[in-house]
Point group: C2
Chain length 66, copies 2
């Protein structure tokens, strides 16, 4: 089981977005996530860091002005 | 072993960039990669897709004009 969990960094706190992610695809200012159960999510964020040893994908909210 | 291999999409072909990646971090128009052997690479690219079942991270070259 090599899936990772995605967390969204929001006001300094990490919020679990989706567990057991099998697929991640950036789309414009969104991230498309899909997990091994077929659940799908799109969130307005960008990848901040991925740690595959800790199975963690850290996302942060997109800043459309930058 | 949950690491993934990174490939760079270049003129329609996929070129292996680094194997057994443990850490990926986007930095401006570059991607910082580190693998379980401590090898590090920075390449001018962005994440196109990550498939954690297939252990594949697909990158594509940054287009600074966009």
């Amino acid at each position: 089981m090599c899936e990772a969990n995605a967390y969204l960094l929001k006001e300094g706190k990490e919020e679990l977005v989706l567990e057991d992610i099998s697929l991640l695809r950036p789309e414009k200012d969104e991230i498309y996530l899909q997990n091994i159960f077929g659940e799908q999510k799109r969130i307005r964020a960008r990848v901040k860091e991925m740690n595959l040893i800790d199975h963690r994908i850290l996302l942060e909210e997109s800043q459309p002005d930058l």
